[in-house]
């Protein structure tokens, strides 16, 4: 949930505010995830003084899990370092991605470039087992607080404490990302982003370095997406290319469109609504499976795609700009005027 919020906020910053249609959100998300999984797998062995081994084997997977369950120092260190590196790598790839963005005048070419880049990423990581264990993915990335179970601290060593703590950590990061994007967008920088989005040529004749601004927004957005990838891998326990497909990217797009462009609160609402649909259909399919034997649960499971599309269509008809309206950049500049810039 928090992860979807971060991803939607990131996309909203790039497209809603910056006008950069990122169809490769899964690329930045997946890069963060794989960077995390690869780093964690290797770092755990280093910090726990194990001999280095092939990270794809079952033996290494079991070893990783046992380190995570018993060695808090190694686990947390690997967690933090992989997080920092993922964000950094995400920022770097974002910068690299802005390079074609500066050369295509029509921003939808950028969408195509990133869409293809994301496809290439999944294909390479699926078929080249030396990078990310191929189709199996890198598994055995335990919750960074799993070691709490081996401690003698009451309550915290129960089997439901550590997932809750990690959920809290994800929520905290989602909140941080919201504050970050909200501050970024309600500032002169936010004003600049919208100006470049609406008319880059006019913005450049007003002395705005359009290329630099586009690069900046891609760097920030993709760093956030990679952050989400890092959080996700530690939550789900595996980095698998199946989770980073283009259809995932489009789910994030639906969340953003649903919530409303250039509105950070809208992004959160969009993410919430879609997550809710996902959960409900999942619960529905499980229930049907349990009570109506012989009924194909996939019908309900896949109905989420139908519901998503239906919701999108209804929205595009009745509220094409999303649930929440685009918010005006409200810097304190308005307070200089008599009525303080209050909306009538």
């Amino acid at each position: 949930m928090g992860i979807y919020i971060i991803l939607t906020l990131s996309l909203n910053l790039e497209y809603g505010y910056g006008g950069q249609p990122n169809f490769g959100q899964a690329l930045f998300y997946g890069m963060g995830a794989f960077m995390t999984a690869i780093l964690t797998s290797n770092l755990l062995f280093v910090f726990a003084h194990y001999p280095s081994a092939n990270i794809c084997t079952i033996t290494s997977l079991v070893q990783r899990e046992s380190i995570a369950a018993s060695n808090p120092v190694a686990t947390l260190l690997a967690w933090v370092i992989s997080g920092l590196v993922s964000v950094l790598v995400g920022a770097l790839i974002g910068f690299a991605a802005s390079y074609p963005a500066l050369r295509v005048r029509e921003e939808w070419y950028l969408a195509m470039v990133l869409l293809v880049a994301a496809q290439i990423f999944t294909i390479i990581f699926s078929y080249d087992a030396s990078l990310g264990c191929g189709f199996d993915g890198i598994a055995g990335i335990s919750n960074p607080f799993a070691w709490l179970t081996s401690t003698s601290i009451p309550i915290l060593n129960s089997s439901y404490a550590f997932p809750s703590i990690y959920a809290g950590v994800i929520a905290l990061f989602a909140y941080l990302c919201y504050t970050l994007t909200e501050r970024l967008t309600s500032s002169p920088f936010g004003r600049l982003l919208k100006a470049v989005r609406d008319d880059w040529l006019a913005a450049s004749t007003l002395g705005k370095n359009v290329n630099a601004i586009r690069a900046q927004v891609m760097v920030i957005g993709s760093a956030m997406a990679s952050l989400a990838g890092w959080l996700y891998v530690y939550y789900i326990g595996v980095a698998n290319t199946a989770d980073y497909t283009s259809s995932f990217t489009f789910s994030i797009w639906v969340m953003m469109i649903l919530g409303g462009y250039a509105n950070n609160r809208g992004a959160i609402i969009g993410a919430l609504v879609l997550t809710l649909i996902n959960e409900l259909t999942l619960v529905g399919s499980t229930l049907i499976q349990a009570y109506i034997p012989g009924f194909n649960p996939s019908v309900v499971n896949y109905s989420k795609y139908l519901l998503e599309s239906l919701l999108l269509l209804i929205l595009l008809i009745y509220r094409p700009k999303g649930l929440l309206k685009e918010s005006r950049i409200r810097t304190p500049a308005y307070t200089v005027f008599k009525d303080g810039g209050e909306e009538q």
């Binding site: 970024l184 002169p188 004003r191 008319d199 005006r328 500049a333 810039g341």
Partner: protein, 254 residues
């Protein structure tokens, strides 16, 4: 410091074999109001595009205060003090009048890292907002400051363009038809606004078809016809120039 803010040297530009601008050499004096006139399609806007960096010339040089700026991108030229308005106003129509005005000024909060810390840009933001308020009042726009730029009238849009020029405080303002297309009763108001900008010591280079009004304020006039510079002189000389009359068919001169 040179008395010439702008010099173009043999600027040429062709589009698909048509010479839109052909060997144009002209100079704009510091602090002057210089007019650029000519019939539609004579290359005036193309010349402005080249001077403001929107287009690149095929040949020739552009100097701003004696510095060669040929081939500079628009944002660099803006930083050199060149401000440009468009014939079809290119404002940020999704944003408010105030935001449009503030966008003409560089803020420390334009940098994303500084933007995170309000302390880095708040003081500057309030300063420029004060300044914007004064300028908007001067142009009778303070009532609509928080309206979207798409919600104000055509005349107000023209006024906002000029308010933005004043806010940007450029060395040279290239105004592409600042009066055209507004209702007649607004013409004197916009002209007054132009005069205000001139009072601030700005150099104005204006494309305009309303010659009567323009010639009252212009110090110097350049005339273009079919991409070439065909005449230049004081407004009084231009009015009596036969070649100019012929090019214009005398229509708006009488």
């Amino acid at each position: 410091m040179s008395e010439w803010v702008l010099e173009t040297q043999s600027i040429s530009k062709s589009y698909g074999g048509v010479k839109a601008v052909d060997q144009v050499t002209l100079r704009v004096k510091k602090g002057s109001v210089t007019a650029l006139i000519g019939p539609n399609g004579s290359g005036k806007s193309t010349l402005f595009n080249i001077i403001s960096g929107v287009d690149k010339p095929d040949s020739g040089r552009i100097l701003i205060s004696e510095k060669d700026v040929t081939g500079y991108p628009p944002h660099k030229l803006f930083q050199m003090g060149v401000y440009r308005t468009f014939q079809n106003p290119r404002l940020f129509f999704g944003m408010s009048v105030l935001e449009n005005t503030l966008l003409t000024v560089k803020s420390p909060g334009d940098n994303p890292l500084a933007a995170l810390l309000a302390s880095k840009w708040l003081k500057h933001e309030l300063n420029i907002a004060e300044q914007a308020k004064e300028i908007l009042e001067m142009f009778s726009l303070s009532e609509v400051y928080k309206n979207g730029a798409s919600e104000i009238s055509g005349g107000q849009i023209k006024l906002l363009q000029l308010a933005m020029v004043l806010m940007a405080n450029p060395r040279l303002a290239l105004l592409d038809e600042p009066i055209a297309g507004v209702s007649p009763h607004l013409v004197p108001i916009i002209f007054n606004a132009l005069l205000r900008i001139r009072e601030q010591g700005k150099t104005l280079f204006i494309i305009e078809h309303r010659l009567h009004e323009l010639f009252e304020v212009a110090d110097w006039v350049y005339v273009m016809g079919r991409g070439k510079l065909i005449a230049s002189g004081k407004p009084s000389d231009i009015v009596s120039n036969d070649m100019v009359k012929e090019e214009y068919l005398g229509s708006s001169m009488v």
